[in-house]
Symmetry: C2
Subunit: 331 residues, 2 copies
C-alpha cells in the first residue's frame, strides 16, 4: 500500500484507474473505471437528505471509499472526474443549480479534492456524457458532434475540432434553454417561454399530453391515466398500442426537437448528433418525426449529411463512464 | 526582383505582405495588407458581367496584378486569403452560392493558386470577417466570440477556444438560416420559413416595413416611399425623424435578432458578439431592442455578461482585412 501511494505521488501508477461520479438531482452514481471503459465497481447513494454538503461528502467518502479499497486502494487512482448539473469546468464550482439541494456557488471540486487527496475535474453532466461518447461510445473518433441528453430536462455537450466547447465562462452547451417557440410554454424553473427543454424532455412530454387531453374531445387510452400519474412512460405505453393522441404527443415533441437540432446543425455543422436518455427509449416514435423535421428545416448544404444516433452505452454505466473520462483528459 | 522571388521560394520573405480578396454578390474587393493590418493598396471590380469564371479570374489577375507590382512584386507576397459566400475552408471550393454568378461547385482556391502561383486560403465571408476582428478589430485577444454580419443577408463566424468553428464539412456558422419564428416569413432563396435572415437583414427590414404599411392604417413618412424604393436606408431616415412605424420596424427586427443572439449565447457562451454590416449603421435604433431581447431570453447564468459590440473596422477595409488575415494563419 505504501508503495502504491508513493507511485501515485510520482505519477507512475501501473494500470491506473479513474473514478467517475455523476451527481443527479435525485441520485449520485459513482464507479471505478479502467482505461478501456470497463466499470469495475460501482455504487450509488441519494443526493438528497443530508444536513449539508459536508454531510453529503462524508457519506460519499465512506461508500466510494469501500469501492476504492476493493479496487486496489487510493494509490491506483489517477483522479476523479465529476459530472453535475451547472458544473463549471473552469472554476470547479456548481453554480445556482436549480435541481440540487445546495444553493449558491459550491466549490465542489476543491472540497472533493481535499477529501480524497486526488486531482478532481468537474463539468456539467451533459458535457461529461459527450466526452464519454467520444471515448467509448457512438461518437468514437469524431471531431465534430453534439450530444443531447433527453431526460427530466434537456442537456447538451458540443464538440468542435475535437474539443468540448466550454465557452468563455465554462457554461457553453445549454441548448435545452434555447428558445424554439417564441412566447411558447413557460418553463417552470427558468420562467422563460418556449425553450426546447419545456417541450422535448420527459416533463415536456407529460405537459404536452395533459394539454392535448384538455383541448381535445377524442377518446384516448391516456384518459384513463390519473393526472398526477401522467408521465412519458404512460404516453409511450399508449403510443405502442396505437393510441392516436399519444402518437401525436411524440410527433409534436419530435417536431420541436427536430427544429432545434436543425438550428444546432446550422450553427456548428456536426458529423453526428448523439441522443441519450429516457426519451430515446421511445425509439422511432420520437426519432422519426425528429429526423424528418430536422431535415425539413435544414438548408440544402446540410441536408442528408448529419447522423442522428442513439447512444448505445448502458444507461447505468454511461453517466459514470462520462465522468471518469474527464480523468484521462487531465494534464 | 529576382532576389525577392528566390527569397519567397525559400520561405524567408522580408516584411511579407498578404493579399486579401473579398468576393461579394455584386462587387469584388481586393487589397494588399501588412502584418499590422494596414491596407497598403486596394481596388475593386464587378463580380458580374464576365463570360465565365475564367474571364473573371483573368480580370482579377490584371487589376490585382497592378497593385502587386506597386507593392514590390509577387515575391513579397506570402499568400492570398479569400472570403466568399459558401466558400469552404477545407475543400477550397465555392458550393452552390445562391448570390454568385457561378453555379455548382467551383474549385476557386485551386484556380487562383494556379493563376498567381501563391498559396491560397478560402473561407466564407463571415468567417473571414471573424478572423479579421480577432486579429485587428473588436475581438482582439478574445478566444470565444461570435461574429454576425448584417448586410443583404445574415452571415456568422463562430470562434471557440481561439479557433474558428468550421464543422465536419467546412460549412459551420450559418446562424442566418437558423429558424427563429417557426412557420414565419418564407425566405426567398432557401424556401425555409422564419429564418433569422428573412427578418434581420436589409432585405428583412424592407419586407417588415412593407408588411407593416399594409397591415396598419396609421400615417407614416414611409407611405411616401414608392414600394420599389423601400429599403433599410429609407426606414432609417424615417426612424431618426421619429416616425413611429419606422421605429417599430427596428424594434421588431431587434426583437428577433435579440432572440437569435440569446440562442447563440446559450450554445457556445461567447465573451462577445461582434456585429458588422449595413444594418449596424442604425446604431441604438437596432442595438437597444436587440440587447434587451437578448437579455430577456437568456437564463440567469448568462445574463449581463455578453458584450454586444459593433465592429469599428472601416467598412471598406474590413472585408479585405478579414480575407488577408487568413494568410497569417497559413501553416
Amino acid at each position: 500500500m505504501a508503495k502504491k501511494t508513493s507511485a501515485a505521488a510520482t505519477g507512475t501508477i501501473q494500470n491506473p484507474l479513474a473514478i467517475g461520479i455523476d451527481i443527479g438531482g435525485t441520485g449520485t452514481k459513482f464507479g471505478i473505471v479502467d482505461r478501456d471503459g470497463n466499470v469495475l465497481f460501482s455504487g450509488e447513494m441519494s443526493t438528497r437528505g443530508h444536513a449539508d454538503i459536508d454531510a453529503y461528502i462524508d457519506e460519499l467518502a465512506r461508500t466510494l471509499g469501500e469501492l476504492i479499497d476493493k479496487a486496489g486502494g487510493i494509490g491506483r487512482m489517477k483522479g476523479i472526474g465529476m459530472g453535475a448539473p451547472n458544473g463549471n469546468y473552469y472554476t470547479g464550482t456548481i453554480e445556482y443549480a436549480p435541481n440540487l439541494p445546495w444553493k449558491g456557488i459550491i466549490p465542489l471540486a476543491k472540497m472533493i479534492e481535499d477529501k480524497f487527496k486526488l486531482p478532481v475535474s468537474l463539468t456539467n453532466d451533459a458535457n461529461a456524457a459527450a466526452i464519454g461518447e467520444m471515448m467509448y461510445g457512438a461518437a468514437k473518433g469524431m471531431r465534430d458532434f453534439i450530444m443531447i441528453t433527453l431526460g427530466t430536462g434537456v442537456g447538451s455537450g458540443i464538440v468542435a475540432n475535437g474539443n468540448l466547447i466550454y465557452g468563455h465562462d465554462g457554461f457553453a452547451g445549454e441548448v435545452g434553454h434555447t428558445i424554439i417557440i417564441p412566447d411558447g410554454r413557460v418553463h417552470e424553473g427558468t420562467g422563460k417561454k418556449g425553450s426546447l427543454e419545456s417541450y422535448a424532455s420527459a416533463t415536456g412530454v407529460k405537459l404536452t399530453a395533459l394539454e392535448m387531453l384538455e383541448k381535445r374531445k377524442e377518446d384516448s387510452l391516456l384518459r384513463k391515466v390519473p393526472k398526477d400519474k401522467m408521465d412519458s412512460k404512460a404516453v409511450y405505453d399508449a403510443a405502442i398500442q396505437g393510441d392516436k393522441l399519444a402518437l401525436e404527443v411524440f410527433e409534436f415533441t419530435g417536431k420541436i426537437l427536430g427544429l432545434a437540432l436543425a438550428n444546432c446543425v446550422m450553427f456548428s455543422s456536426p458529423e453526428a448528433i448523439v441522443l441519450f436518455g429516457g426519451l430515446t427509449k421511445a425509439g422511432e416514435l420520437i426519432l422519426k418525426p425528429t429526423r424528418e423535421h430536422m431535415e425539413a428545416n435544414l438548408i440544402q448544404v446540410f441536408q442528408n449529411k448529419v447522423k442522428l444516433l442513439i447512444s448505445h452505452l448502458k444507461e447505468s454505466d454511461a453517466a459514470i463512464l462520462g465522468a471518469s473520462a474527464l480523468v484521462w483528459e487531465m494534464k
